[in-house]
């Protein structure tokens, strides 16, 4: 079965082609079945492959299949090939599994939309590209997937392109990502040429890993930094995070799939995949962890003052991605990926729950117009609650294990530092606060729903609630695959990934168990404090939060306006670029270049109309021309011979 791993990404491709070519002419049921089934087959196949991997001894868990030669240029050969190892199979399972649930959910959510077939076409294309990204066995093919998911993200953010804000958000996402991709691309070039100058022309991961020590340390730092710029774009980190909140203009299941569970984690996956490079670049690692924790903190603080439920979730996503970067940044790749997985469960659940709320309230997003929805939407409420507990890091839920693992590694690993740990810990408390603020505002307290909408408030259909329930179960049990040793678990997840990362154990500082347990308790306490404050401010005494706003109006305004980052970027970059562009168009292009080009064109055409008179149509003239030519050729050659 190993050699058929290319089938994993192929199913969604087939779904994409079927829906894209036939979808509009087929009944909706066809579109839904093709859309969901193709992703489900990928998931099924990933599960089979997973068990296949488990049967192999840990060191041998690597299946690599080359499909065909793609680019051959001198010594450089790149093949379209796939690679399944513990890391990529985890990603495959998450992408296709969560993806499948979101597809099913979408059947209910998008049912009334006229763009239904288009939606599923894009969604299948996305899953295809995402699976290419995570199964590619070389950097270049991974880049194809990377760009492909970017394209799908653009298409789906702007899915309701009649809306100005949606198409603008799509463009913003695309352009901001382009900046990051530029860094990524430069990184690929630098990697290729610096290895090539040592005589190794390859971009294949295994071969790169083998030859990585040929590279000079400074070059590695630069390469990894460039790759990280790509990651900040795709995974919405400082300074390129600004596109993700706007991306919420897309349909909610899209936000769940692309902008929470899968695509935005591509940056984390990429760093984990290239861990052999990052391991050799401690400076970059530190920058990764630092940017991660700063992003986590900053985004969480913005989350305090947003009223749009999807935007709160978006900032929470940015913040959680920051955690993952802290994880990979301190060398705890397995912890980062672990958090990636649990986050995929509970964040997808949160988004889908938000979608269910919107569905019930005719598209309402403002949490000030919600409240007390608990009794109308029981399933949504319960699942949402579970997700909030998971993201807040309450023991027993998946988020607890993964987040705590990251915090512990940030503290204990020799790459970590106390500063990062403390900032991470504070952020954990903030996370609990703003998530429960959201929960209380939406489901508890006074009902603030508009009167005319209130009559229609209803729980979502089964096809939407069942994925919620499944994700809720996953959000609880998903963490138990990685229970740390200190809690009596086997850390199976870490062990499973170990052959990929080959973590060096020597040189690690051993900390007493009591310290680990103590810190664990500390983070739980911090989370509980966050929840308590949320309870206090938004449920028990809502007037407290209002008085806070009145007391510090400037602080509130700054945070509510996201620290004016969009405005600063606009002033610094966008306006200047536009001015420059206008100058190029009006002066350089239209006046100078066009002048030269048109002038040349007129001149050549004039020359041509003179030459055409030679073509008289008389056969004698033609024969004469042959004679002249013959005399010239003969004369030239004879002169050559005699001279």
């Amino acid at each position: 079965m190993g050699e058929y791993i290319w089938l994993i990404p192929s199913f969604p491709l087939v779904g994409f082609l079927l829906n894209g070519l036939l979808g509009r002419r087929m009944p909706k049921a066809f579109v839904s079945w093709v859309g969901c089934l193709s992703v489900f087959l990928s998931f099924l196949f990933s599960v089979f492959t997973f068990f296949e991997l488990l049967r192999l001894p840990p060191e041998a868990r690597l299946i690599e299949v080359d499909i065909f030669d793609w680019i051959i240029s001198g010594e450089f050969v790149t093949r379209v090939g796939f690679r399944i190892d513990p890391l990529s199979i985890v990603m495959c399972l998450v992408v296709s599994g969560v993806g499948f649930l979101i597809h099913v959910y979408s059947v209910g959510y998008m049912h009334e939309d006229p763009g239904y077939p288009r939606y599923f076409t894009y969604l299948n294309l996305f899953v295809f590209m995402m699976l290419i990204l995570v199964t590619a066995n070389n950097v270049l093919l991974m880049f194809v997937g990377w760009e492909g998911v970017g394209l799908c993200s653009y298409l789906l953010i702007g899915f309701w392109y009649e809306k100005d804000s949606a198409s603008n958000a799509g463009k913003k996402a695309f352009i901001v990502n382009r900046i990051g991709d530029y860094g990524f691309l430069l990184g690929i070039f630098l990697l290729l040429f610096s290895l090539g100058s040592k005589g190794v022309w390859t971009l294949n991961f295994s071969e790169l890993e083998k030859n990585v020590n040929l590279l000079n340390e400074n070059v590695i730092s630069l390469i990894t930094l460039l790759f990280f710029i790509g990651a900040t774009g795709k995974s919405a980190q400082i300074p390129l995070y600004v596109w993700l909140p706007d991306a919420m203009e897309g349909p909610t299941p899209v936000s769940a799939l692309i902008h929470a569970a899968t695509m935005v984690t591509a940056g984390v996956y990429m760093i984990a995949r290239l861990h052999f490079l990052y391991n050799l670049a401690p400076e970059t690692m530190f920058i990764v962890a630092l940017i991660g924790v700063l992003t986590a903190f900053l985004a969480a603080s913005i989350g305090f003052a947003q009223y749009d439920i999807k935007r709160v979730l978006a900032y929470s996503t940015i913040s959680q991605l920051g955690y993952m970067f802290v994880g990979v940044g301190v060398g705890a790749y397995a912890a980062g990926i672990f958090h990636l997985m649990t986050h995929a469960f509970f964040k997808a659940l949160l988004f889908l729950g938000a979608g269910s709320v919107m569905h019930a309230l005719a598209g309402e997003l403002d949490m000030r117009k919600m409240g007390g929805l608990k009794k109308y939407l029981p399933t949504t409420h319960w699942t949402f609650l579970i997700a909030c507990l998971a993201i807040a890091g309450i023991p027993g839920f998946s988020g607890f294990f993964s987040k705590d693992e990251i915090l512990w590694k940030a503290f204990s690993s020799n790459r970590g530092s106390i500063f990062i740990y403390i900032l991470g810990l504070v952020t954990a408390g903030m996370t609990a606060f703003y998530m429960f603020r959201l929960l209380f505002n939406v489901f508890y307290g006074k009902e603030r729903v508009d009167e005319e909408i209130k009559h229609h408030v209803h729980e979502s259909p089964k096809i939407m609630t069942i994925p919620l329930v499944i994700l809720a179960i996953l959000s609880i049990i998903g963490g138990y695959v990685g229970v740390p040793h200190v809690l009596g678990g086997g850390a199976h997840f870490e062990k499973f990934l170990e052959p990929v990362f080959k973590v060096p154990h020597e040189g690690e500082i051993h900390h007493p168990l009591s310290l680990e347990i103590g810190l664990m308790v500390l983070s739980v306490v911090v989370a509980l404090i966050g929840i308590y404050f949320a309870y206090l401010y938004f449920l028990k005494k809502p007037e407290l939060s209002e008085s806070f706003v009145q007391k510090y109006p400037n602080l509130y305004r700054t945070v509510h306006n996201k620290y004016f980052v969009d405005e600063i970027y606009g002033f610094l970059f966008v306006d200047n670029l536009l001015r420059f562009g206008r100058f190029m168009k009006n002066v350089i292009d239209e006046a100078i270049i066009d002048g030269i080009v048109n002038g040349t064109g007129y001149f050549l055409r004039g020359l041509g109309s003179v030459l055409r008179f030679l073509q008289s149509g008389y056969v004698q003239a033609y024969a004469f021309s042959i004679i002249i030519g013959a005399i010239l050729v003969v004369g030239y050659l004879l002169m050559k011979v005699t001279s």
Partner: protein, 477 residues
């Protein structure tokens, strides 16, 4: 004897079918046209079958008058594919333009036979027989629109000038024979290395150059081309542009790279000049053409000039770029001319560029296909036309002919103007005149799609063909 025959099976099959078709046509008359088309397809595919079966063989037959090698097999394959495409495109064309007589198909076959003979030998006499068989058939094919004055004029002009050029060729052959005592081109390079560097030999080289320069339409031996390409039935024009040029170029290549490489510094100079004049003259004149067939005629002259850029370098190992170019060139020309055929109808040729104005509105598919071919002719990636130009010019640069490459690239920039102009007319202009229904029946589009497929395939995966071509040009070592 039997071994000899087994080597020439493709030719034997083709010849047999040609004669059979001639008889069928003579005895059944007008009614048999569609049958003849199908039989031609069968003939071409069975010949292709034998070519493929023999493709791994090397050998000589008939006392060295005929030889089979990778180059011959590859080009014969291409020529037969061209025949298949032209035949498929002709099936409706011949019916629509009822003026075309039934001899059309047998003549196509005989002309193809001539091409196959000329690329599959190292003997100048056999080459000459092939050239004449090909040419005479094509002269007649050009005049197939018997009622049409331009067609008759084209045929007569081509015949007169062709006979004139053949005289140069055969005189050149006789001089070479006179100075070396052999008709086998492999003997010449030895003779030259052994010190035979006489003016008689060079005179022979010069006259052979003139003969082939006429066949592949290099300036100043090109004057017939616009008139003949315009006047001939469009299917024949496509056949000439793709088939005749390929066969003549490969033969030219084979003679010069096998026999005259030791004196390349002599003929290289003259061909350098001819390449520059050909490219520049053809592109400049094409700029002002209003008739699309004439425009494509000049374009084909220009492309011959591009190929010559690689030719003059004398780099045997890099000459595979010429083979690649010929493949790409054949597919894009057949495709473009098939689109032109779709625009034609009885009594109304729609050949002027105004007929194409606003075509995209009414016939989006046709406009798209034609645009693809024109873009490939321009040399836009990922189409094969781009890779072809890339290989040819990089050959020139690698061999140190930087200026020639620069002139070539500049010329392709000029060429972009007249190719893109047609696209501009199709997409951005309002229709000038009413174009009637277009025959969207499958034979034409089959050809168009096959051509597009090959252009994309060769453009994206050029490696497959370049490997074959490198194998083919290994015969020069």
């Amino acid at each position: 004897m039997m071994d000899d025959l087994s080597l020439v099976m493709p030719e034997v099959v083709l010849c047999g079918f040609g004669l059979l078709l001639l008889l069928i046509e003579a005895f059944l008359g007008e009614k048999s046209k569609s049958l003849l088309g199908i039989l031609t397809l069968i003939a071409a595919s069975s010949a292709l079958f034998f070519v493929l079966r023999l493709s791994r063989l090397n050998g000589e037959a008939f006392f060295g008058l005929y030889s089979l090698d990778p180059l011959a097999s590859l080009i014969k394959g291409l020529i037969l594919v061209i025949l298949v495409l032209i035949t498929v495109a002709s099936i409706r064309y011949v019916e629509r333009e009822n003026a075309i007589a039934g001899e059309y198909y047998p003549l196509l076959i005989f002309s193809t036979l001539g091409m196959m003979i000329m690329v599959s030998t190292t003997n100048l006499l056999t080459i000459f027989i092939g050239v004449e068989l090909m040419s005479i058939s094509v002269y007649v094919l050009c005049g197939m629109f018997r009622e049409n004055v331009r067609s008759a004029e084209a045929s007569l002009k081509y015949f007169l000038l062709g006979a004139f050029a053949s005289a140069f060729l055969v005189y050149g052959i006789s001089l070479l024979y006179g100075s070396t005592g052999s008709l086998d081109i492999r003997a010449y390079s030895e003779a030259i290395s052994a010190g035979n560097y006489s003016s008689v030999l060079m005179l022979g080289v010069a006259l052979i150059t003139v003969g082939f320069a006429f066949k592949i339409a290099l300036v100043p031996f090109h004057m017939w081309t616009p008139d003949v390409y315009e006047g001939a039935p469009t299917s024949v024009t496509a056949f000439m542009a793709a088939g005749v040029k390929t066969a003549a170029f490969v033969t030219f290549l084979r003679i010069f790279y096998t026999a005259f490489l030791p004196v390349i510094k002599d003929w290289g100079g003259v061909l350098w000049l001819i390449a520059v004049i050909t490219m520049s003259y053809a592109n400049l004149t094409a700029l002002v053409q209003e008739n699309i067939k004439r425009m494509l005629a000049y374009s084909s002259i220009a492309h011959a000039g591009y190929i010559l850029v690689a030719f003059v370098t004398g780099e045997r190992s890099l000459s595979s770029s010429i083979i690649y170019y010929l493949f790409a060139y054949a597919f894009m020309n057949i495709g473009a001319f098939t689109c032109v055929m779709l625009m034609e109808r009885k009594g109304e040729e729609n050949l002027d560029i105004d007929s194409y104005a606003g075509l995209s509105g009414k016939h989006p598919l046709l406009s798209l296909c034609l645009s693809i071919f024109l873009l490939s002719l321009t040399g836009v990636p990922p189409l094969a036309g781009f890779m072809a130009k890339f290989y040819v010019f990089s050959t020139a640069i690698k061999a140190g002919y930087v200026w020639l490459a620069i002139i070539g690239v500049l010329n392709s920039v000029v060429a972009a103007y007249y190719y893109l102009r047609v696209i501009m007319y199709m997409y951005f202009k309002e229709p000038v005149k009413e174009i009637g229904e277009i025959d969207l029946s499958s034979p034409y589009f089959l050809v168009v799609f096959i051509c597009i497929f090959f252009l994309l395939y060769l453009g994206i995966f050029p490696r497959d063909l370049t490997l074959l071509a490198e194998g083919a040009v290994s015969v020069f070592f």
